[in-house]
Structures are given as structure tokens and as C-alpha cells.
Amino acid sequence: MTEIPEHLLKRAQAARDKAAADSGAGEAASGAPSDSRIPEELLNRSKAAAAGGVAVAERVATGVATTAPNGNSPQGTGPGGHTQRLLTVVKSGSIQDVKAVPVDKVHTWPHLLGVEFVAALACTAFTFLFSWFVNAPLLQAANFNQTPNPSKAPWYFLGLQELLTMFHPMIAGVTIPGVALIALMLAPYMDRNPSNKPEDRKFLTSIFTVHLMFWAVLVIIGSFFRGPGFNFTFPWRDGIFFDL
């Protein structure tokens, strides 16, 4: 449910109070039911029609046949001098899809652009300062005859390389990442739960977190706990075999 901002609620309440005060006297005098917007005589007529449609037809017929007995109403009129008949009353809400739910909005400038600008500045500053103090690695020129030990993939693929130690390359390098990607893409179509509230999504949130953690742990092990020959090491004992 959209949260209706407080100032709009207040405004609506004020308008409702004003309308009530304006029409209060008139309604009290006529005694009409305040919840219906249909004029009372129309309601009465439709009730009469429902009670005996034939009766109404007869009355109309007599009205046509006789030449204005009372002289006031013209030919072909119904009771009370009306020239139309009420077939049905359709309330506006049922045929007009009115979407007047107020949404609390703010101007993009300055509220969003300001934040974006600051975020961009902070990001640039961080990258700049980090680059000031830490140099990108540049090892010796590529040499096909000298394989470094260990040889590691970029860090985001180290989870896959870690899987290579456990499974056949076809499974670790193709099947698992392929299935993971496809499952990710299909996630919105498989998740049939319409709610986006965390308390309604405990199962899926847990599943996702477990997978994230699984992946993070694999990457960390591959990065820091794998030494020469891609054997398990402790970084505090043997040093770090990792370049970013």
C-alpha cells in the first residue's frame, strides 16, 4: 500500500470538513440519505418499476391515450411530468478507473541530482586516492616458456577455479556457472511470491544468501588460501599468492 503523505491527508480532511459544513444544513432540511448521490424521486421510480413494470407501461399508455387530463404535463410523460425513464444508475466508480492515489514525490533536481553528484564525486575521490597510494601490478613481460606457480584467474573467476579442484572441468567451468546464470535470469519468473517484504521472503532470501556466501568463500579461498600448485596454504604462514 502506498503511503499517503501526511500533508495530503490533512488537506483532504480539511476539504471533507468544509464540504460537510456547507451541505450540512440543506441535507438536514430535506432529510435525504446522505450516502446516496441518486435523487430520491429517481430511486422511488425505479422501485415502482421493479414492483410492476406493467403498471408503469399502462400508465404511460393511458397518458398517451388521454389528452392531458390535468392539462399540466405534455403527452407521453410519466408520473410527475418526467419525459425520461430511469433504466439503471451506474455509479462512477465502477466504470471509471480512477487512479487518483496520491504518490509522495520530490523534484529530481535538486533532491536526486544532488545525491548523484555527491556520490559520483565521492567515487572519483576514492578511486583517485586509492590510485595515488596503490599501483596497479605490472609483472614481467609475458613469457610463454615460464609458467608462474600458481597461475590464477582474475579474482571474480577464482571461485570457478576453486571448483576446478573438486569437479571435472566440464562441470566446474561450464555447467555450474551456466546453470547459475540461467537460474539468475529465471529468478523473477520462478519466484511466484508477489510480496517484496523481507518477512514474507525468508526462504528465498536465505537461499540467495547461502549462495552468495558460498561464492564469496570460494573466491576468498581461491585468492588467499591457494599457493604453489594451487595447493591449500595459510596466507599468514606462506604469504599471499595473489595479484589483483
Binding site: V106, T108, W132, L138, Y156, N196
Partner: protein, 261 residues
């Protein structure tokens, strides 16, 4: 000064500046650049109308609506991760273009070019560092953006397809990073990519063919460097920009960002 040579009052600097400003703003060139209603034409004083004009009469209108939901500007909701990913993409484009001036993607020159870029080009080392760290940061921020969207359930209807585009963009980000990894042509690049592409060769049916096309041979060599350079600076950025455009367009068409929870 004892002598006053001219009777006319002196034109102050401020008056002169105002005059130049007025003639500039009245010129056809100025008015052809800025649309009617632009704040650069009619000046800016803070009012709701002008706040709307800032977006409506600038190219920003392609990216942002005039108004956004109040919760959408809360940093605690989005953590700015999507925006930062995009900004890092821009930062990487700018620094990458700088690097292209000094780099030749051939096996004999590539490493030497990076070496001399670092030692004899002004800000060369700095820009290379920014490009490298920015790339790692982008992989991280795209990944975190995905996690954020998942935890907020923001991929639910009507945003399912935008999530799919997002996963494609994540893959493209990894491909961009991975193809860039080879370009310094040092031991780290060569053997990291060797490990990575060996895995690729195990794809069923087309694995070895795809690997052959990507490497330009059965093993990594000089041809691989040129291919990955073209992929890195042209093909993947091109595809990424297209998917970014669709991604941003869908964010707006699907009713702005999701939430509140």
C-alpha cells in the same frame, strides 16, 4: 590623480560584464544551444517551476523524470549502487580513452607501451591505476547492485525483464574486465587469461570452436591480444551501452525504482 581627462563616468568592470552577459544571452547562437525554458536562457531562481525546467529542458530528461518518489532518493534504499556502476563505466571510458593513446595491441609493443606509459607519460601511472581499480570496483558494485535488487524483491512484476537485462549487464561487465585483463601483456595477464580460457574450452559442442575464434588460434598469442583489444575497447562497450540504455529506459517505464518495502 589630479587631472580628470574625461567627463564621462567610468564603466566599471561589473557593468561591462553585465553588458557582455546580456549580449551573449540575447545572441542567436546562445538561444540555438539552449531550449526555450532552459535555465541557461531565463536564469534560475529556486521555484518548483524552475526545478522542473532543469530536467525538462535538458538532456537529463532522457535519464530522469521531473519528479521521483520520495523514497527513491533515499541513499539507504539503493546505496547508489546502480548509479555508481554507471558512473564507473563512464570513468572507465574516459580513462580508457586516455590509455588508448599510448597503447599498441601487439605482442612486441604492448608491455613496453604500458611500461613507458607508467614511467614517462604525465599522469600515465595515475590514469592506469584508476582504470584498473575502477574496473575491479565496477565488478564489485554491479555485483552488489544485483544483491541489493534481489534482497528488495525489486525484480518482481513488472520489472522481471529488467532483471534479465541486469544479469546480461553483469555478464558483460565480467567480459569487459576479463578482456582488459590480458592487455598489459605481462605474466599476470597471460597466465590468468590462459587459466580462464582453458575453462571455456570445455563447453560442450562449440567449446573448442568458440575458444579458437576468441584466441585467434589454439593457444594464446599475438592474435589473441589484437582480438581482445578490439573486444575490450569496441565490441563489448558497444553492446553494454545498448543494454544500459534499455535498462535505464525500463526503470522509468516500469514505474521508477521499486519499493518502499
Amino acid at each position: 590623480m589630479a587631472l580628470t581627462l574625461d567627463e564621462q563616468p567610468k564603466v566599471t568592470l561589473k557593468e561591462r560584464a553585465t553588458k557582455v552577459n546580456e549580449s551573449l544571452k540575447g545572441s542567436q547562437a546562445w538561444n540555438s544551444i539552449f531550449r526555450p525554458g532552459s535555465i541557461f536562457r531565463k536564469g534560475y531562481t529556486d521555484s518548483p517551476r524552475n526545478r522542473s525546467y532543469v530536467i525538462m529542458n535538458s538532456v537529463l530528461y532522457h535519464l530522469h523524470p521531473v519528479k521521483v518518489k520520495r523514497h527513491a532518493v533515499k541513499v539507504s534504499y539503493t546505496l547508489c549502487l546502480g548509479g555508481l556502476s554507471f558512473f564507473l563505466f563512464i570513468l572507465l571510458t574516459v580513462t580508457g580513452i586516455f590509455l588508448m593513446f599510448f597503447y599498441r595491441p601487439t605482442a612486441t609493443n604492448a608491455w613496453q607501451d604500458i611500461q613507458s606509459l607508467q614511467t614517462s607519460v604525465t599522469f600515465g601511472l595515475m590514469v592506469r591505476n584508476m582504470h584498473r581499480w575502477g574496473a575491479h570496483l565496477m565488478v564489485l558494485s554491479v555485483f552488489l547492485h544485483m544483491a541489493r535488487v534481489f534482497y528488495h524483491g525489486a525484480y518482481k512484476a513488472p520489472r522481471e525483464f529488467n532483471w534479465v537485462i541486469g544479469v546480461i549487464l553483469l555478464t558483460l561487465t565480467l567480459l569487459l574486465s576479463f578482456t582488459g585483463y590480458l592487455l598489459p601483456w605481462d605474466q599476470l595477464a597471460l597466465w590468468a587469461v590462459t587459466v580462464g580460457t582453458n575453462m571455456m574450452g570445455y563447453s560442450p559442442v562449440i567449446g573448442s570452436q568458440v575458444r579458437f575464434v576468441l584466441l585467434g588460434g589454439v593457444e594464446i598469442g599475438a592474435e589473441t591480444l589484437l582480438r581482445w583489444y578490439v573486444l575490450h575497447v569496441l565490441l563489448f562497450p558497444f553492446i553494454t551501452v545498448i543494454f544500459l540504455a534499455v535498462h535505464f529506459w525500463r526503470v522509468r517505464k516500469d514505474g521508477g525504482i521499486s519499493g518502499p518495502l
